[in-house]
């Protein structure tokens, strides 16, 4: 059974400068117990997509007519975009869906204790009374590896270390046993050593709780560690998706290849870094055709700037949206590539 089905998601913001398309015809699925990694640069639409799942985008947001966000749990199925009132939206805010944010310090209210914020959520969604909510919260804080949890319960976010704050955030997100957990760059603000601990914790918990996780990051290394499947986003589109090892070992889309080549390599410190050339275009000037054509090293004039590339199946459940995979073009480019010795 599929837990989350995102179909043809299109998100637009109306701004004084004009209408901005932040997410364009995005579809993906998340299964229970599965970690889906969403990768992309800032501005790729990954956070906007995640926030749409909880209807957290600002009031100037419009969704495409055919966009569907369906959440199916054993108990109930929810059509997320059909939730109109704030009260209805509670279903996907902290109940069936929880979210962990990038900065654990900033996501706790500074003048409220960790405990009061945890209890508030439990009272709201589970109808627990304060003593029960407190017991459960302390239990969860211990579960995520916070020592002396009873004391931490009464402390404020500024009294905890960075790693501990993110653990507390995870405990809070898990307290209602959501079916889907969205983690928006949960490890970006942490030290590398702490990062690994938090990732391990999240994987362990996903297994224990059987929940689906959407893990958003710009860090391919983190994705390799955490995700079962990965979707690479660029300018509001998914350009490549598939099982994480398959995609990272055999990247099919020029953008994914660029991202992988841009990573520093520990085994060859002399190697030059090869950044993806150019800058991500302004969302007000979305390129026609393939959105990546302005930066693509394999840009093919006449095709890429006109036609939107469809998703091609390039391997086992591995999709890539690039004209490169259209046979005729692929063979010519492949020979050109061979001659230039560009690594595939």
């Amino acid at each position: 059974m599929t837990l989350l089905r995102v179909q043809d998601l299109q998100i637009k913001f109306s701004t004084p400068e004009g209408e901005i398309t932040a997410v364009d015809h995005v579809s993906f699925e998340v299964n229970p117990g599965e970690v889906l990694g969403l990768v992309g640069e800032s501005g790729s639409g990954k956070s906007v997509t995640a926030r749409a799942l909880m209807q957290l985008n600002a009031s100037n947001t419009t969704y495409g007519e055919n966009s569907k966000l369906l959440l199916e749990t054993p108990g109930e199925s929810v059509d997320i975009l059909a939730l109109k009132s704030e009260r209805q939206r509670r279903k996907v805010r902290g109940d069936l869906v929880s979210m962990i944010f990038q900065e654990p310090m900033a996501s706790f209210a500074p003048a409220l204790t960790i405990g009061s914020q945890m209890c508030e959520q439990l009272k709201l969604h589970r109808g627990l009374r304060r003593p029960e909510a407190k017991d459960l919260s302390i239990q969860l804080l211990s579960r995520v590896g916070i020592s002396d949890a009873a004391r931490r319960f009464d402390q404020y976010a500024f009294e905890l270390s960075g790693g501990m704050r993110q653990r507390a955030m995870i405990a809070m997100a898990l307290s209602t046993k959501p079916s889907l957990l969205i983690a928006d760059e949960p490890t970006t603000a942490l030290d590398v050593t702490i990062q690994a601990q938090v990732i391990d914790l999240m994987k362990e918990i996903a297994r224990d709780f059987g929940m689906g996780i959407i893990f958003i990051t710009h860090d391919l290394g983190v994705i390799a560690q955490t995700a079962d499947r990965v979707a690479v986003m660029y300018l509001g589109k998914i350009v490549e998706s598939g099982p994480v090892r398959e995609v990272l070992h055999n990247p099919a889309h020029p953008y994914t290849r660029g991202l992988i080549n841009a990573l520093p390599k520990l085994e060859d410190l002399e190697a030059q870094l090869t950044p993806v050339p150019g800058d991500i275009p302004s969302p007000l000037e979305r390129p026609a055709g393939c959105v990546f054509h302005t930066r693509c090293p394999q840009f093919s004039k006449g095709t890429c700037e006109h036609a939107i590339p469809p998703q091609h199946l390039v391997g086992n459940e591995h999709f890539s949206a690039c004209h490169l995979h259209e046979e005729a073009l692929a063979s010519t480019l492949a020979s050109a590539e061979h001659n230039q010795g560009v690594p595939a």
């Binding site: 009260r87 805010r93 979210m99 003048a111 709201l124």
Partner: protein, 334 residues
């Protein structure tokens, strides 16, 4: 708890030190006024037809202790103010300054605090409301109104209201008491009469403070609303009033409380002008009289000291209040 008590002790010491420094500055300022208290009194007597000699002045100076060194006189002034609540005698009237100021200071403080209350009772809820409906009709019209409040000086507003009232209602709205209550002792009737007159000075004193505070609250709220913890709270399902009050409003409160002291200061600054325009008989008017007309250093110094003490005391209280509502202040994180 121990850290909270320590916090209070430290703030109290700081407030006390500030007061000592202020008293020194006020004392010095009063010293810098040409002539001293003895000369002033003797000069006053001359106008009554008495013949005064240089020796009389010297004798009066010795009697008043004006021949003692400057620092010694400051210490005496401050210590008797602290321990006996005695601020010396008026140079001119030869009565205790405390007695002279007495209920006039009470009236001034009453007006000022009422203006302060008015400011916050209006500015906090309206500012919050305005920020939560940003750029709506209410928000826009409130902003226009508060810019008007900022642009229009208090005394001009007072004159405007008096003009309208005089032309259309035949009442000048000046003074704090009706004629029949002016010189009678305090009674419930007199208090009621005062209250029926007090609304205008309170309104005028609170006018620009409200306008400024409204903008401040709105800006603080807008700031807080954009913060991640508000989105995070929303993502946990918190909605409506609870989301507004427990999150951005709760956290915008700190700087607002912090500014109470400034507002009292602003209101005190306006006090003499408003007193002059509205013909009030409060400490503001007395201060103006002491400074501008009779050059009564002792009296002016005492009024200024009393007002500053009020501001320092209020700041001390707001510091404690701030520590009470914000754990970061209380636990020494800031």
């Amino acid at each position: 708890m121990a850290s909270f008590l320590k916090f209070i002790a430290v703030r109290f010491a700081a407030a006390f030190a500030t007061m000592l420094l202020v008293s020194f500055i006020v004392f010095t300022l009063m010293e810098l006024v040409p002539g001293n208290c003895a000369e002033r009194y003797i000069a006053y007597k001359t106008t009554q037809g008495q013949l005064i000699t240089e020796a009389d002045i010297r004798a009066e100076e010795v009697r008043m202790g004006l021949d003692r060194p400057y620092i010694e006189r400051w210490v005496k002034w401050v210590s008797s103010a602290i321990f006996r609540f005695d601020l010396g005698e008026s140079c001119l009237w030869r009565v205790d300054v405390t007695q002279l100021i007495g209920d006039k200071l009470g009236i001034s403080l009453g007006l000022s605090f009422a203006a302060l209350m008015l400011t916050y009772v209006i500015a906090i809820p309206v500012g919050i409301l305005s920020a939560s409906m940003r750029d709506g009709v209410l928000d826009s019209s409130l902003r226009v109104a508060s810019y008007l409040g900022l642009a229009l000086p208090n005394f001009l507003l007072a004159l405007g209201i008096m003009l309208v009232s005089t032309v259309f209602f035949g009442d000048t709205l000046t003074g704090l008491f009706s004629d029949e209550y002016r010189d009678v002792p305090w009674s419930m009737a007199k208090l009621g009469d005062m209250l029926s007159h007090a609304w205008l000075p309170i309104l005028i004193l609170g006018w620009s403070a409200t306008a400024i505070q409204l903008q401040t609250v709105r800006a603080l709220m807008s700031d807080e609303q954009g913060k991640l913890y508000v989105t995070a709270a929303k993502a946990r399902g918190i909605t409506g009033m609870r989301l507004l009050m427990c999150y951005p409003a709760r956290h915008a409160l700190g700087p607002v409380i912090n500014s109470i002291g400034f507002d009292l200061n602003r209101i005190f600054n306006d006090l003499p002008i408003v007193a002059a325009v509205l013909a009030l008989t409060d400490a503001g008017a007395l201060l103006l009289e002491a400074l501008a007309k009779s050059n009564d250093q002792q009296l002016a110094g005492a009024i200024i000291l009393a007002m500053t003490a009020t501001i320092v005391a209020l700041n001390f209280l707001t510091d404690i209040l701030l520590a009470f509502i914000d754990p970061r202040v209380r636990k020494g994180f800031f």
